[in-house]
């Protein structure tokens, strides 16, 4: 494990203004992510997992505190810098896949490879998630698991330094979920991509290097796993 973190946050808070009340989503989070590390963020609904993920992914900015990506202070990024960051350095996988329904699997991946600098071929990315026979299928012609694997291929096709997955199995049954987790595991291993998976499914935590527990917008504990369980051996 490299001593230099990919991400380092210090004291980040995020407050949403909902009408007349302020709702704090994060209340001073200090956390580090390291190169090639597989991290699981665990916590109940409303614990601030997704907010942290959105901030790390450059989709949102914290109300206070700093986020460093390598040497760079992301809180100082403007819109253009954030866009460039998302374009070339980070990959997203969402709970509901969020594929473009009017594009095929290959074209959904091409959406990313069209603009990223250091990308692989869409077919190569789909091969990594074992979908070479589904290249020209539209989302509506694929199962949920297949759609989520297309989403993973789309996220990794740019060879991101970081892969952020928000409840990637949340909408899937166990068997399909495991296939999806295997794909994420493979990407983490073969591309050495720093990987963060958000979930409220505690079983998934056992495949991580490190598990970060969140509660009420704060880190409640961080657990370093002695041994990682392969996704294939998970059950819930």
């Amino acid at each position: 494990m490299s001593p230099k973190p990919v991400f380092q946050t210090s004291g980040i808070t995020k407050i949403y203004h909902m009408g007349e009340v302020d709702v704090p989503a994060l209340r001073g989070v200090d956390v580090q992510f390291f190169k090639g590390e597989f991290v699981v963020l665990l916590g109940p609904s409303g614990s601030g997992k997704s907010t942290l993920m959105n901030i790390l992914g450059g989709l949102d900015v914290p109300t206070a505190g700093t986020v460093h990506y390598g040497d760079r202070d992301m809180t100082a990024f403007g819109d253009a810098a954030l866009t460039d960051y998302r374009r070339n350095h980070v990959g997203f996988v969402f709970q509901f896949y969020n594929l473009i329904p009017s594009l095929t699997a290959r074209e959904n991946v091409a959406l990313v490879t069209d603009i990223a600098e250091n990308h692989m071929a869409p077919e190569e990315a789909l091969e990594m998630v074992d979908l070479t026979d589904r290249l020209d299928h539209f989302p509506s012609q694929m199962s949920g698991g297949e759609q989520q694997r297309v989403a993973i291929a789309r996220a990794i096709a740019k060879r991101p330094e970081v892969l952020l997955c928000d409840e990637p199995t949340g909408a899937l049954d166990m068997q399909t979920g495991i296939i999806v987790l295997e794909a994420i595991e493979r990407v983490n291993r073969e591309l050495n991509t720093t990987t963060a998976v958000i979930t409220h499914n505690a079983v998934i935590a056992s495949m991580a290097d490190r598990v970060i527990y969140l509660l009420d917008g704060k880190i409640s504990k961080i657990v370093q796993n002695e041994t990682k369980v392969a996704a294939a051996h998970l059950t819930w």
């Binding site: 989709l59 866009t83 998302r86 374009r87 997203f92 990313v112 069209d114 909408a171």
Partner: protein
């Protein structure tokens, strides 16, 4: 092709019927613009080229009689380039196959060589030859209307003698592109013709050898028309000059120029309406697309597409539709412009070419692109501004509440589906207002498509039934004594005759002046009523003038003001006179006086220029025969024949334009209604599918959606009819000229037509939407809770 553009194309294909509907609206606007602008441009260029080529005069004057040597003095007026003197006389014609007499204007041309000014061009036949008496050329309009060919003869009463005019050729001249008889409202090619005859022959029969009674001249570049006219009038006054006038008051030129201005007006107004509607449609469609694609927009942003790439992506959707429409419309407009120019060419008789202009096409193209861009600007801005993280969440459920109707306790009168419809309308008042105004605009444009038809009918009724009540108007060669009236009264079939006197004058009020005719009518006469705007009869005052409304506007005077009257005939007195009142007229500009007062003004005793006749229909033919043989009669205008001839001309020229307008208006109506219905469907399909799942029948969910569409349509129609009325006022204002004022008159059938088309469009759109409702995907609702 990159993936984003693929998405664009697939999105477009998914909304192809809506895209086509909007594209057609754009195409209609661009087609109307390209057609009108190219037609106007072609007509202007053709007009100018023809005027130059045929040496069309700048100033025109008529007089009683002057020696030809006077022409040298006219030529010596500073600013005058070339002078042409002529003999021009009006005669009564007996045209084979025409029961009623017609009127001819005989114009002299040199026996050898070309006319110096107002050159004539042969369309068929040959030029007249010297020493062959009776040979004439005739203007094309008259020849066509009466089926005359070279070799035919027309009988004429020339200076008291019946003589045959032998037509050897059919010709045109820049002076008579449009021929309107003096005192008439509208062109009547069947009953009024221009004949060109050798000068020596014409001068000899009218005892004008070595003299002239008509003069044209051209000006040097930069010369002042007003100054030349002033000097010319002074020079011609002793010779009975009736006041010179410039091209602006030359009837044929005014007619054609006004018509071209009308086409130009249309080129300005129509694209604004159509492209405005298209922009509006694009806005509501794109706003809807962007709402539906919130998550997709978020994903694009999450993957690093910047805000401009996302914005341009949706902008391209609008531009694609606009460009598609513009190209289609441009091509169609180019083609229609040729047809329209040809139509005008057959109506106005002068050499016309079609000169389509690249800049017109480019302007049409840019206009539609600009309209589309403006239309979608705020929708695209929403996509650009949508924060990536927020977009990932579905739109929060809209806040509903009981409607006003329910709050005041009327809910028990409505079913739950009616309540859903009402709540939905009240929840999104802006969306509802947009749909209502869109459909209202369609209804309004449909009314404009019928513009003119009802107005013309009203004008005809006003002019030919309420105002002019005589069956026939007889014009005499020159002002005559009361004896002439006695003679007319004794003609067969004449039941009643009322004299009139027409006097050429120049009216001045401050720095404004107009050369007009004062019409002297008998007080208490029954064959010519002057009416006000409410169609009430205005009684001629014993002293003072009544002005037509347009003349009052041109002179900027009203009842009670005084004007200076300069008589341009006889002793040419100049007098101050009060304006006693204003009368309504839809064509021309005229002033009116009591005949006795007019005769005192002109110091001519008991004189008349003609008479209005009430005629016994059974003896009409006998009357026609006598009139054709009566020496002092210069022209006879028969009301029935004038109405028929006018209807024929108007129908052929206006019908095509109206058909175009109605066709395009229907496209707009369908475009708007169909898009509104599709958007309602898209916005509500999830909710409706849910209702189906919990047990609503197809008919019930159809009622909810179609009920909304129907309510919107019913609210839109009255608004649209009111807007249509407003649009017509604008059009009438734009078309208000000295020649015509078009009253805004809308018959019930126009309202019914407009409302009917909108309702049919609603019905058809509803049926399409209904079919889609039957195929609602119920399962999708149960899937991901997005």
């Amino acid at each position: 092709m990159n993936a984003l553009n693929l998405k664009l194309i697939r999105d477009l294909l998914a909304m192809k019927s809506q895209a086509v509907a909007i594209g057609l609206v754009v195409a209609s606007g661009v087609a109307l613009y390209v057609m009108s602008a190219n037609t106007a441009r072609s007509l202007r260029e053709s007009q100018q080229a023809y005027y130059d080529h045929a040496r069309f005069a700048d100033v025109f004057a008529s007089l009683k009689r002057a020696p030809k040597t006077l022409a040298h003095q006219v030529a010596a007026i500073p600013g005058v380039a070339r002078v042409q003197t002529r003999v021009v006389e009006a005669v009564t014609l007996d045209v084979p196959g025409l029961a009623e007499p017609a009127t001819g204007r005989l114009v002299s041309v040199p026996e050898r060589g070309r006319p110096v000014l107002n050159d004539i061009h042969l369309r068929r036949g040959r030029d007249i030859e010297p020493n062959r008496p009776g040979e004439v050329l005739v203007n094309e309009g008259f020849a066509t209307a009466n089926g005359l060919q070279p070799g035919d003869t027309v009988g004429a009463v020339i200076n008291g003698r019946r003589q045959d005019l032998r037509i050897v050729g059919i010709a045109m001249s820049p002076e008579c592109i449009m021929v309107v008889a003096p005192g008439d409202m509208f062109p009547d090619d069947e009953h009024y013709g221009v004949f060109w005859m050798g000068e020596r022959e014409l001068a000899s029969v009218f005892d004008l050898e070595g003299a002239f009674n008509d003069l044209n001249l051209t000006l040097m570049p930069g010369a002042s028309v007003a100054e030349v006219i002033r000097r010319l009038d002074r020079l011609l006054a002793p010779y009975g000059g009736a006041g010179a006038y410039g091209r602006k008051e030359q009837v044929s030129n005014t007619y054609l120029s006004d018509e071209i201005t009308g086409v130009e007006t249309m080129a300005r107004i129509s694209p604004m309406i159509f492209l405005g509607v298209a922009a509006f449609l694009l806005n509501i469609v794109l706003a809807r697309v962007i709402t539906a694609q919130r998550q997709q927009i978020a994903v694009l942003k999450a993957f690093g597409y910047d805000r401009w790439e996302v914005g341009f992506h949706f902008m391209k959707l609008a531009l694609f539709i606009a460009v598609g429409g513009a190209v289609t419309g441009g091509a169609f407009g180019l083609w229609m412009g040729r047809g329209m120019t040809n139509l005008y060419a057959s109506f106005y008789r002068f050499p016309t070419g079609y000169y389509p202009d690249f800049t017109v096409m480019l302007t049409g193209f840019l206009l539609s692109v600009a309209a589309a861009s403006l239309g979608v600007l705020n929708a695209v801005q929403r996509a650009v501004r949508l924060p990536a993280a927020e977009a990932m969440r579905p739109e929060p459920p809209a806040a509903f509440r009981a409607t006003l109707i329910e709050r005041i306790g009327l809910q028990r009168w409505f079913s739950s589906s009616a309540r859903m419809t009402m709540r939905n309308l009240e929840r999104k008042p802006w969306a509802a207002a947009l749909s209502i105004s869109g459909i209202a605009l369609a209804a309004a444009i449909l009314m404009v498509g019928n513009f003119g038809q009802d107005s013309v009918n009203y004008m005809m009724e006003f002019q030919f039934e309420k105002s002019l009540r005589a069956d026939m108007t007889v014009a005499l060669v020159e002002a005559s004594s009361g004896r002439a009236l006695q003679n007319i009264r004794h003609l067969p079939g004449v039941m009643h005759a009322e004299p009139y006197r027409s006097l050429s004058v120049r009216l001045r009020a401050g720095h404004r002046s107009r050369r007009v005719g004062i019409m002297g009518l008998e007080g208490g006469g029954d064959l010519y009523h002057l009416l006000n705007v409410k169609e009430e009869q205005v009684v001629l005052p014993p002293e003072g003038l009544l002005l037509s409304d347009k003349l009052a506007e041109l002179l900027d005077v009203g009842a009670g003001d005084r004007v200076t009257v300069e008589v341009l005939e006889g002793a040419r007195p100049v007098r101050q006179m009060p304006v006693a009142g204003i009368v309504t007229e839809f064509a021309g500009v005229t002033a009116y006086m009591q005949l006795s007062a007019l005769n005192r003004l002109s110091r001519e005793g008991n004189s008349l220029s003609g008479a209005f006749l009430a005629v016994d229909p059974d003896q009409q033919d006998a009357l026609f025969a006598s009139l054709k043989a009566t020496p002092r009669v210069a022209g006879v205008s028969v009301k029935e024949a004038a109405i028929a001839s006018f209807r024929k001309t108007m129908q052929s020229s206006m019908l095509q334009m109206r058909l175009f307008m109605i066709f395009f208006s229907c496209i707009i109506a369908f475009g708007v209604v169909y898009n509104s219905a599709r958007i309602s469907l898209a916005e509500r399909s999830r909710e409706l599918a849910t209702l189906r799942i919990i047990g609503f029948t197809r008919a019930e969910i159809s009622m909810i959606l179609l009920g909304e569409i129907v309510v919107i349509t019913l609210l839109a129609i009255p608004l649209g009819l009111a807007m249509g009325y407003g649009l017509m006022q604008l059009m009438a204002q734009a078309m208000n000229t000295e020649l015509y004022r078009i009253p805004v008159v809308i018959s019930r059938s126009s309202y019914v037509f407009s409302a009917g088309v909108v309702m049919v469009a609603t019905l058809v759109s509803s049926l399409i939407v209904r079919r889609k409702l039957d195929h609602l995907d119920l399962v999708s609702v149960l899937k991901a809770a997005q």
